[in-house]
């Protein structure tokens, strides 16, 4: 198929290859849709996809303008903004944590005395749990607030608009967290994978580590989680395309924590393959192929994930500094069950630990006869890796 890649800064090849590359004002989705319409007059488009939270909104605007498969813009906007999302979910009766929106102009000490504990402070739009901090009491709340505020004050974020001066404070929901990967087709959720997160995400920071699928939660819990995700997608008005949702499960049922109108991030999608080998229903199909096929209205292969449990570890950043050396990669890759160790930060590069950071050291992939075995392989491989990190210079 022919592909056109849109970017907000022009490619140096755009004039030479005008059908392949286009510059859009991605920060202004409606303007980007106008530009895409003009482009489509010359180079017709059959489908459009975003690749992250912001471009999911742009893709929605373009889809709406051109009559392509996609989501309404307001739905994509609600999925991108944690406060808008919670307002819509609360109105629809979806189980979500109690929440309140605050601005950085408020006195954190005053907010601290007016909120429930434990709670979680969150920026409205940053991804990968960047800037997400748990506070357990009024004494620790102001420090958490100041730390989130410092992240929002960073130059690349501060210029992003009103949301960069706001903090969402919501109740901490206890219980295991899962990630649901799904595809919406005419508003109906098809669950592609449900990942357990075996490392408890209880804070104070929420750096992800291990994802393992299939989930070991009871079948009725998994059904309740899928219903909750479906209800959330419906409440937001999402109709088409990938979703990635984070949910918690406890004695009160399933809780929607976050829902994004995009697929799983980083390289984690490599842990997913669909279609059973030998069935002729599509073998080893990637998540990306499913998403592209759906966007283009092409027949979908089997959406059944491969039978073997698989897992991925987002390699956590132990501390901030300058990465000097990585050892143990060979031993890690040789751990039984491990498929690959992919390091995505090279020696010489700076590391930033959570909550300020959002970039992992890399990814480890595994398969196992059971989800527990897949997770154990990831842990064993991670234990083989050693990272020499020096304090960052001034």
């Amino acid at each position: 198929m022919d592909l056109t890649v849109a970017s907000e800064e022009p490619s140096t090849f755009q004039q030479a290859e005008p059908a392949n590359l286009v510059t859009l004002e991605l920060s202004d989705p409606e303007r980007a849709a106008e530009q895409a319409r003009d482009f489509a007059h010359v180079h017709p488009l059959d489908g459009v996809l975003g690749v992250d939270d912001d471009t999911a909104v742009v893709a929605a605007a373009i889809a709406t303008r051109l009559g392509l498969t996609g989501n309404p813009v307001r739905a994509a906007l609600a999925a991108r903004d944690k406060h808008l999302q919670r307002l819509a979910l609360r109105q629809a009766g979806v189980a979500i944590p109690g929440f309140a929106l605050h601005t950085l102009d408020e006195d954190p000490a005053a907010v601290a005395h007016a909120t429930r504990y434990p709670n979680v402070l969150k920026p409205l739009r940053l991804s990968a749990s960047r800037g997400v901090i748990r506070a357990d009491n009024a004494a620790s709340f102001p420090a958490a607030w100041r730390r989130v505020a410092a992240i929002l004050a960073q130059p690349d974020i501060a210029v992003c608009g009103d949301w960069a001066r706001q903090i969402l404070v919501e109740d901490f929901v206890a219980g295991p967290e899962v990630a649901l990967e799904g595809l919406l087709v005419k508003g109906e959720l098809r669950v592609l994978a449900l990942f357990d997160k075996p490392d408890p995400l209880d804070g104070p920071f929420f750096e992800e580590t291990i994802y393992v699928t299939p989930s070991r939660l009871p079948a009725d819990a998994q059904r309740a989680i899928a219903r909750c995700a479906q209800a959330a997608a419906t409440a937001l008005g999402l109709r088409e395309g990938p979703i990635h949702a984070e949910l918690r499960w406890n004695t009160q049922g399933a809780w929607l924590i976050e829902l994004a109108a995009r697929p799983i991030g980083g390289r984690c999608s490599a842990a997913l393959r669909f279609g059973e080998r030998g069935t002729g229903k599509g073998e080893g199909v990637t998540l990306e192929e499913i998403i592209v096929r759906h966007a283009l209205g092409m027949p979908l292969p089997s959406l059944e994930r491969e039978a073997r449990p698989s897992g991925v570890m987002m390699i956590p950043v132990p501390r901030s500094g300058l990465l000097r050396e990585i050892t143990g990669q060979t031993a890690a890759a040789r751990v039984p069950g491990v498929d690959a160790v992919q390091l995505t930060i090279a020696p010489g590069q700076a590391l930033l630990a959570w909550p300020e950071g959002s970039r992992y050291l890399g990814f480890i992939f595994s398969h196992g006869d059971t989800p527990a075995a897949a997770a154990a392989s990831l842990r064993a491989a991670h234990a083989k890796l050693e990272f020499t990190i020096e304090p960052a210079g001034d």
Partner: protein, 201 residues
């Protein structure tokens, strides 16, 4: 070898994956193999072609980079493990893993193509990428497949693959349709000054 050999897999897509090895695999030049028969003098490549079920169709070796192309849809994590074993075994054997190229596979055709591609790079491609501080070096043309290395602002750039596929490859297809493919042998992980930062995660 006493030092630990590390191998980093960088899947490009379902069919292609680059393996960056911490030590040189071949002392110089680029070699491209399209069948196990081509690889009889290169044990590393022969082992990769012999990976059961992978249906490897092409192996390109350059310096410390091994690019593998396969037809099978099996995910790279599984095949990559076998590729890693093959690389380590070949390096541990002490014999040259890859024989030095002696005779061009298709001297007339490839030599002529090389000149035309080099001219296109000089006249069109490099002036374009130079606007972002980049450069593209033509390494070789083997069996009508262009091997190139990206440098400067292109090396490690978050948009490097877009430049490669949407720009350079499209331009080659249009101007020199005899070119059958394009292989990027750049070590993007070592890019010191990419024009656009790589993806966040």
């Amino acid at each position: 070898m006493s030092a630990e050999i590390t191998i980093t897999a960088e899947p490009i897509d379902t069919g292609r994956c680059k393996f960056l090895v911490s030590v040189p695999v071949t002392p110089g030049g680029v070699r491209r193999f399209t069948s196990a028969d081509d690889a009889q003098d290169s044990p590393l490549v022969a082992q990769i072609f012999a990976i059961p079920g992978a249906q490897v169709s092409e192996v390109i070796v350059s310096g410390n980079l091994v690019t593998v192309v396969k037809r099978d849809q099996a995910p790279w994590p599984m095949v990559g493990r076998e590729v890693g074993k093959a690389i380590r075994a070949a390096l541990a054997s002490g014999a040259p893993p890859v024989a030095v190229k002696t005779v061009p596979a298709n001297p007339g055709g490839d030599d002529a193509l090389y000149d035309r591609v080099a001219q296109l790079f000089e006249d069109e491609v490099n002036p374009m990428v130079a606007r972002h501080g980049g450069r593209v070096e033509l390494i070789d043309v083997q069996d009508a497949v262009v091997m190139l290395r990206m440098g400067g602002g292109c090396q490690g750039c978050g948009m490097a693959d877009v430049t490669l596929r949407q720009g350079i490859e499209a331009m080659l297809n249009r101007h020199i349709p005899e070119v059958k493919g394009i292989v990027d042998i750049t070590d993007h992980g070592s890019g010191a000054n990419p024009y656009f930062a790589a993806a966040k995660k």
